[in-house]
Subunit: 428 residues, 2 copies
Amino acid sequence: MHPGPLHSLQAWHAAELITRRELTAENLVRACLDHITGREPQVHAFVHIDADAALATARRLDAGPLRGLLHGLPFGVKDLFDTFDMPTAYGSPIYAGQQPLADAAAVALCREAGAVLIGKTVTTELANMFPGVTRNPHNPQHTPGGSSSGSAAAVADAMLPLALGTQTAGSLIRPAAFCGVVGYKPSHNRVPKAGVKSLSETLDTVGGFARSVRDVALLGAVLTGDARLADPAAFSQTMAPRIGFCQTPEWALADSDTQQAWAQAEKALNTHGKPMALPPELSGLVAVQKAVQAFETARSLSPERLRHHDQLSAPLRALIADGLAISGETHAQHLQLTAMARRQVQAVFGPFDVLLAPSSIGEAPAGLDGTGDPLFCRSWTLLGLPCVHLPFARGRSGLPVGLQLVGAYGDDHRLLAAAHWVHERLTH
Amino acid sequence: MHPGPLHSLQAWHAAELITRRELTAENLVRACLDHITGREPQVHAFVHIDADAALATARRLDAGPLRGLLHGLPFGVKDLFDTFDMPTAYGSPIYAGQQPLADAAAVALCREAGAVLIGKTVTTELANMFPGVTRNPHNPQHTPGGSSSGSAAAVADAMLPLALGTQTAGSLIRPAAFCGVVGYKPSHNRVPKAGVKSLSETLDTVGGFARSVRDVALLGAVLTGDARLADPAAFSQTMAPRIGFCQTPEWALADSDTQQAWAQAEKALNTHGKPMALPPELSGLVAVQKAVQAFETARSLSPERLRHHDQLSAPLRALIADGLAISGETHAQHLQLTAMARRQVQAVFGPFDVLLAPSSIGEAPAGLDGTGDPLFCRSWTLLGLPCVHLPFARGRSGLPVGLQLVGAYGDDHRLLAAAHWVHERLTH
């Protein structure tokens, strides 16, 4: 019926089997729950699991008509999203035990499409740098990345086929890279953020993780409401995308593992792309993104810094202090500069459908006291462009390495179709 | 010491007196509370008032050092913003009695600056069209406008010098116009939205109300963190702004009251401005704004439409149905079109510092079953530009009429200085 153990089925494959009534949601959910039971003591991907509720929901779905694209598919949700039936703590002791009245909009959209919520996954503290307890499923001595640590690790370990996360600097693409899964950051503001703890209006983006481009596109179609993202025709097309090989101004900081993955990709995709450099006016965006994030985070977290300062970690206090030291005048200039850069980057996509770019400096670093550097994600997040991380290589420690594809604003469907095409060529 | 009753003091004047210790926060708060007690049975501006807490806070502020720009100033908050010490129902029975754990960021910023929270003000249902109980303080048979109904009415009635609101279509400028107060919609995303019920990422904007431009600029400086907004020098400048008289493509729908206010303003400002028309590519934005609002609201309110459909009003259900009927592909095109329009509108501000434009079709309509038409605000909200409503005229029913000034993105300080200059000339 299907290759490998049930819990490791890809989402699109499971959806097909469930649609044909060759697989029940209950059996799929049970398989995932069983695998979680075995692996969670090593991985620590979850802060909350409700197995009984998930099984009950699955049985209800099996007894009823097909609900939507995610019918019967188990999913996990970063604990930065509100859930009406599970506590939501945003990775902070300030919110320990908080029970929201309503789901985040993205969670509700997934449930509407038939997805079965298994549990809340570990986030770093308030989706910032202070790590949670999750370990990299490929090597428990290494970070899974952050801030969507638990979602990336759970999908990588085949505990779940799909999980939700968010990115403000590199919190989707980086953990996807470190855990070796596909991560998708949609175009800025294409997915509703209602009910997600807000840090930075300019940067926060809701997205998700899966083990294939087709899977993450299924999730993306539900989150954006754009059916083109999950159009099966997009994944059988033979037309090659025009790829710009964009090493970015930060390339000198990529380590040998990322360099090697880059060389491998250039070789595999050679005839379909050519090197390109971002125009000079788009250099310096990393510093702007850092400042925008610090300024907006410091102000968005005003309730926490004013009334619960002693419950914030030292690194988060330092980020907030950095943000408070930036003047509102400077921030206004940064917002104007961001608007201008978002405008200027459009021209880059004239000759290219997508850009290939580094996702991370290299493999997941050893140690659990940090979550790695989002360096290679900062500019794309500031630009608001859709990104997909593609895992396809291994680094010197045997951990996953990959690259990201970046699309034009609002062209998520084209990006995902291209990502499927590229990923096939990188992995076969 | 000051002209008129204490409760009707302007914020900047009260702040000066409190700073010089010639007025106590307690006395000011008490004066406002007394006035509220007398008038609230007619106006219905509040859903929650905590007089004891406000007085206690005022006494604490009087006993301590100066906290910031709003030290000792009473303020009200639209019940769409979370407050840690007051229930927050978003104008919907779904959230009746909800007690958030934390303030919205904007509320926390005001408290940090020394403002004293008096209460939560009436919002329409989930900041949409279904009206709350507030009446227009100038005539209780007329709407105060919406969705920030209570905040505008409370400031107009001199219950409070300052109040917070939000705008997704015209929910700051329209009630400001109908109630005859100054309303300020900052540049999109300059003020944090954390802890504010989210309806539309592309449109939602936090702003506020006051009875003068100087007052609303004081609030704006705190909300944006940009000290230039409250720089007293900006309000004593004699340099005239270059004003573009922009009737907008919807001008034919302005009624005779707005036409008369327009003629009056053109006459008063004549030598400092000239007529201008938006370029043709910026027509049609009203329809795009409507579609973006409907699509994003329908998806942001997924938790409510899926689990509490019977507790939504018929008009809101209709808006949601409209939004769900729009495809994700169309929405992606609208987002791309919005990004392009935001780019194109920048050129408009070459020859002009600000644009003068209609705020509303005319006076506040009679009747309490609606909140009036946001027609003249939709395009500016979609464009993300900062706007200030200036009240200066009366319509045929004796209700307030005025116009708005619109600034370039991120140039809120220039807009507010120009608005002060213009308002002086329109009212003297």
